[in-house]
Amino acid sequence: MTTSSFMAFLPELVLLSGALVLFVLTLGESQGRQARIAALLTALATVAAAALCLGQHAVLFSGAYRVDAFSQLLKLVFASGLAFILLLSGRLPDIRDQIKPEYFLFLTLSVSGLVMLVSCVDLITLVIALELSSYPLYLMVPMRREREGQRSQMESAIKYVMFGVAATGIMLFGLSYLFGLTGTTSLPLLIVRLQPVIHSPPAVVGLALAFCGLYYKLAVFPFHFWTPDVYQGASNETAGLIASLPKIGAVAVLVRFVSLSPSDNQVIALLLTGLAMASMFYGNLIALAQKDFKRLLGFSGIAHAGYAVVGFVSLSTAGYAAALYYIVGYMLMILACFVVICQVSRDGTNVAIAELAGLHRRSPLLALTLVVGVFGLAGIPPFVGFMGKLTLLTSALAQGHLALVIVAMINAAIAIYYYLRVVREAVFGDPAGNQPPIALDWPTRMLCALLIAAIVAFGVAPEPVIDALAASLGGLNLPL
């Protein structure tokens, strides 16, 4: 390997070496603390490596792996996301001490799968990277401690695996159509060879089926069934991971796939419109009736996946950049909510919305984090959620999808009700009985401050981010 290709592959190498160190730690007696420090150091080193390699351009492994502005930008996002999640999972009260090193190993492996996913331009490499990001998650869900009369983690793990396997199977079936039509698994070649037949039924069916594996990761309407159960059944920290990073990976790959079809493909646009509308209505309407905070976030996640798909309907670079910007903002906002969940629940149990009552007395910083996160999700300015929705709807309107924009606006209005219910409990409610104040350790304080700052900064000054994303999308499928 030459020096330049070594530099281009540096973030992945750092992450995988970290995973190997964690593997060694799993071999000894329970070393949860050391494992967390090792994972955190790996995450920080990956952030540094990804920042260092931002400008890299290379094609590795005989054209199967492409390092460009798009992939490097997202690798930085994933590395920071990993650091956030490790700061979040400090005590891990719901994971037994003996298996904490394994937990951190799976976490690191899953993120390394995502990091590789965004660089893959070969269908086989892409599917393998997608699986590397999924399998550790399947394992992390049932690692939650069993309680009296609660085995929901097993049920949700089985649901997660079954839906995941089925979605991957459907995706592979669609990819086999694309391969059969073009005789290649390399995406840049596939684009060229698919152009003459792009409007024929096999190509449309192949593309539509290939999207399915990504809909599952993103929790878009017909593949959403696992979402609320897994959020509820998995431990709080695991749910925080599942809710945030894989969705960015799914949107990134969806960008690569959707850009295979030309911007005048009405069938694909119609399909995406239908899915976006169904996801938004389904998620928002059912979220209205939820009492468990994680379950509520699960249903709201389905609705937000619908918003992200709105960006793809326009089949334009502006739309893809808006979808990426939105989902990165969503990661920050959902992590802010999960920090609060993890801290409010001292022994790792699920948190009902009523338990948030009087949070402003118990911990003002947590209450502020929650308010910023939830207002962001509701789409209230000046937070990132508002700017994200605005750019998404602008891109859809530019291509004349007026009905979709109106439906999205109606849904944003519905969603405000249940988000404000959470805020009302936290800010205006009185704590039941004499709940003790919540003491925060310094990593949590730092994480809260970082998330609040990022949500506000991304919302106030979105232009540099969107411009960087749009610029990186420009050379997405061009030959290097």
Binding site: F23, F61, F106, I128, L132, L139, G183
Partner: protein
Amino acid sequence: MAAIFFYLFAGLTLGSAALVVANRNTVNGALCLLLSLVGLAGLFVLLDAYLLAFVLLLVYAGAVVALFLFIIMLLDTQPAARKPFKPLTLAAAGLGGALLVMGVLSFLTRARLALAGPAETAVPSLKAYAERLFTTYLLPVQVVGFLLLGAMLGVVVLSKKLDSAEKAR
């Protein structure tokens, strides 16, 4: 001659695949799956894809079906009484089947397949496969290593009796 073999193998594949679904004894079902895979391997041989046929027999017939049989015998399930289908299930199955038939029909009538020619590896020799495996697909091979490491550790973690170990402390 080749046509006769094609229909023979295709009949074997489809017939035993139908028996997998229809059979009420799970062991017989698994063995029918084995037969179906043999038929599929025969079809691959007819297409000159000898390596693929061999790998299919080795991995699927040899390992996967053996694993199925192992689990079935471990669980020792009795064939249960046949329950009538729910109307909703029947409606969904009917709808799905109708969609499939419509899809296949539209493929037959409307699609003009401008095939881009055969796949790049025209000669599917072992050497060509190996070369691909060590160049284009080097990364997936390495990543699968990490995947298997994770899967192995996952099995250990999930099957360990952690409660008793915790109580013993």
